[in-house]
């Protein structure tokens, strides 16, 4: 029996396939696009091609598009899924998960493998992947390029938390002739500070902090977050699939 987890987020849709021994057999991601239903269909097709027909597997969906997956056996929220997925990926029962997603950022405190408490950002997109995406667009870069460039910058801060106002601020910085790496630093710094405020609302104690979600592939994000939280933040190549892996686990 195979277990499929599908995490349809606001920006990208992640899929994971696990066997009954919780081995991760397959992970893949694709853009969510404008229709969760089309995305779900394309995921189904992909799965079939890889030899995992959804109707022969247990399928659990999560993320904002969780209700749009017609072949899903049940839906679970991304909070529970990220918690379960991160526990498996990092092999820890007690940890603090920081997930920087496309339109929301979650900080989840896990004790004995169960969600103890969590904080999510409000409607506002400050401190999320979307914020980074908009700023990267303004600077004519890809988000990952911006993160890498930020490492060599410094001494610039973006004070607006509102994405629209922050974009105007970035444009003024460009107009003033500020170096690109310094602007990139300011953008990443703004996200990290906002995420850290959220994380500090939860009493993590000595629990290991881990980063999941789309930004975990950028080393500098982990580095900056470690600096801001004053504790080492680790990540993993599968961390961006934490939600999907957790969803698959929820089917067991």
């Amino acid at each position: 029996m195979h277990y499929i987890g599908i995490d349809i987020g606001s920006t990208s849709a992640k899929t994971a396939v696990l066997d009954e021994n919780k081995n991760i057999l397959e992970v893949f991601a694709q853009p969510t696009g404008w229709s969760s239903i089309d995305t779900a269909e394309s995921i189904g097709k992909n799965l079939r091609e890889k030899g995992f027909a959804p109707e022969e597997c247990k399928v659990v969906s999560t993320g904002y598009g969780r209700v749009a997956v017609p072949f899903s056996d049940k839906t679970v929220t991304e909070i529970t899924c990220h918690a379960k997925g991160a526990s498996l990926i990092f092999g820890l029962e007690d940890l603090l998960v920081v997930d920087i997603g496309g339109q929301d950022t979650k900080v989840i405190l896990i004790e004995n493998g169960f969600v103890k408490d969590f904080v999510m950002n409000d409607k506002c997109s400050a401190g999320t992947g979307r914020f980074l995406e908009v700023m990267a667009n303004t600077l004519a870069m890809r988000p990952d390029e911006l993160c890498t460039l930020a490492k060599s910058g410094g001494n610039t801060s973006i004070s607006s938390l509102c994405t629209v106002f922050a974009e105007s601020e970035v444009i003024s910085l460009i107009g003033r002739g500020e170096k690109k790496e310094n602007i990139a630093f300011g953008v990443v710094d703004s996200i990290i500070k906002k995420v850290a405020i959220q994380a500090n609302r939860l009493p993590a104690g000595s629990k290991q902090a881990v980063l999941t979600g789309g930004l975990c592939e950028c080393d500098y994000i982990c580095e900056a977050l470690s600096r801001e939280l004053k504790t080492e933040v680790i990540t993993d190549k599968n961390a961006r699939f934490a939600g999907a892996i957790g969803a698959a686990l929820c089917g067991m």
Binding site: T77, T80, D117, F118, M120
Partner: protein
């Protein structure tokens, strides 16, 4: 509600805009309420009131005015209904609970005003609520800065009396509130032309105490392991209690409570076994604000109690009925009303005690602290609420929201995750 067009016209309402409200309300009510299964029969009364919400009670009030009675519109559970009733007056609630009225309020109020105040002011200024048109006088109170200033705006076209609320609970504050109640009695006497006598006040105290006891009976039924009524239905009863005649309200609530007691005896529940029980605490949910209850009760949990003005704060604690002089009665009223624990007081530890006590009495699995956007006092107090609950080992989720549906999906995710967390 078309039979009431003439009445609305006579009230000087904006019929065209009001029609839009009349068109959306039945759909919303159908989706949220009538979709529920196995509702108590007694809810039929409240369903009927909602179906005629801007018609049936307003027409009663107008009839009463023709017979010389005066109508006082209020915004807060600290204003003592007893004094008005003793002078043969009528009290009606005025708080606005719909986004429909918010843009009207935003024409004159700052953006960062809470939606309840915006909706109330909008309902008045846009002439789309009959209760605001009918009331002979509005009675305000100095609970929060937003309301204080809003009363000044409302006072430009309706007589307004504002009661000066103490903000602390020292002995002199109780005395001050008793004095404010006495002053209010003077205003009511002048408006109605009727004297407040100890006999009449004693009678009014009994009427309102009976209403409190009846509301409490329905709430007590929600302490049962098998819930005989949904949180949504209990909320509706509570919201309409602010508008209805107090004697009829008590009668209907008692009838409903009888049915609920029978359901408990028969083991009838409106939720499957194992449904997680949620206590709501925070700012009031004025009609037709059913947003949070609907999200919670369609996410696999049940609301078992509201520690809110539209909840336990409205009926807990009775007024001493043994006083025979006005002085003693004003003091007794002050003592009861000052027992309410609103975040406008500092400090307000009593509310924390209430929340923990109620969470135990109603066997809540978790607490959701829900506050209206821009209500800084409740929002700030949330720090203590969350800390105390965590210390008591009761899971808690803090939420800030308004009357719009724009955050419904985000709230659903958070609330579902919270319910999953409860196990």
């Amino acid at each position: 509600m078309s039979d009431y067009v003439k009445m609305w016209e006579d009230l000087g309402m904006d019929l065209e805009t009001h029609d839009q409200l009349c068109q959306v309300l039945p759909t919303a009510f159908g989706d949220v309420y009538l979709s529920q299964e196995n509702r108590p029969e007694g809810m039929g009364f409240w369903d009927f009131v909602v179906s005629e919400i801007h018609g049936i009670r307003p027409s009663e009030l107008i009839e009463a005015q023709k017979n010389g009675q005066k109508v006082f519109g209020t915004f807060c559970v600290y204003v003592p209904d007893e004094v008005v009733i003793a002078a043969n007056g009528i009290v009606t609630g005025l708080c606005g609970g719909s986004q429909f009225w918010v843009p009207g309020g935003e024409k004159v109020l700052p953006k960062n005003t809470c939606p309840l105040i915006k909706a109330s002011v909008g309902a008045r200024l846009d002439r789309t609520c009959p209760f605001f048109r009918i009331a002979d006088m509005y009675v305000g109170e100095t609970t929060c800065d937003g309301k204080k200033k809003a009363y000044e705006i409302l006072a430009e076209d309706v007589p307004v009396h504002v009661m000066d609320m103490p903000q602390m609970k020292r002995a002199e504050d109780y005395d001050k509130w008793a004095h404010e109640i006495e002053l209010f009695a003077g205003v009511v006497e002048e408006q109605t032309g009727n004297k407040v006598t100890p006999e009449k006040l004693a009678e009014a105290i009994k009427i309102i105490n009976n209403k409190r006891k009846a509301l409490k009976r329905v709430y007590d039924a929600r302490k049962a392991d098998k819930l005989p009524i949904s949180g949504k239905d209990a909320l509706l009863m509570m919201q309409i209690a602010f508008f209805d005649d107090p004697v009829r309200c008590a009668e209907m609530c008692n009838k409903l409570a009888d049915e609920l007691d029978q359901r408990i005896a028969d083991g009838v529940s409106v939720f499957p076994e194992g449904t997680k029980r949620i206590l709501l605490t925070g700012t009031p949910l004025a009609i037709p604000n059913w947003k949070l209850h609907h999200i919670i009760e369609t996410s696999g949990a049940a609301v078992v109690c509201e520690e809110m003005c539209t909840g336990t704060r409205y009926f807990e604690n009775l007024v001493d009925e043994t006083q025979t002089t006005l002085e003693g009665q004003y003091k007794a009223l002050a003592d009861r009303y000052m027992k309410n624990n609103c975040a406008c007081f500092t400090p307000n530890e009593g509310r924390i005690d209430d929340i923990i006590r109620l969470a135990k009495e109603y066997k809540a699995d978790g607490v959701i602290d829900v506050n209206l956007k821009f209500c800084s006092i409740y929002d700030t107090e949330g720090f203590f609420v969350e800390r105390a609950l965590k210390e008591a080992g009761i899971p808690v989720l803090g939420i800030e929201t308004d009357y719009t549906d724009s955050d419904a999906e985000q709230l659903k995710t958070r609330i579902e995750a919270f319910i999953e967390m409860l196990g």
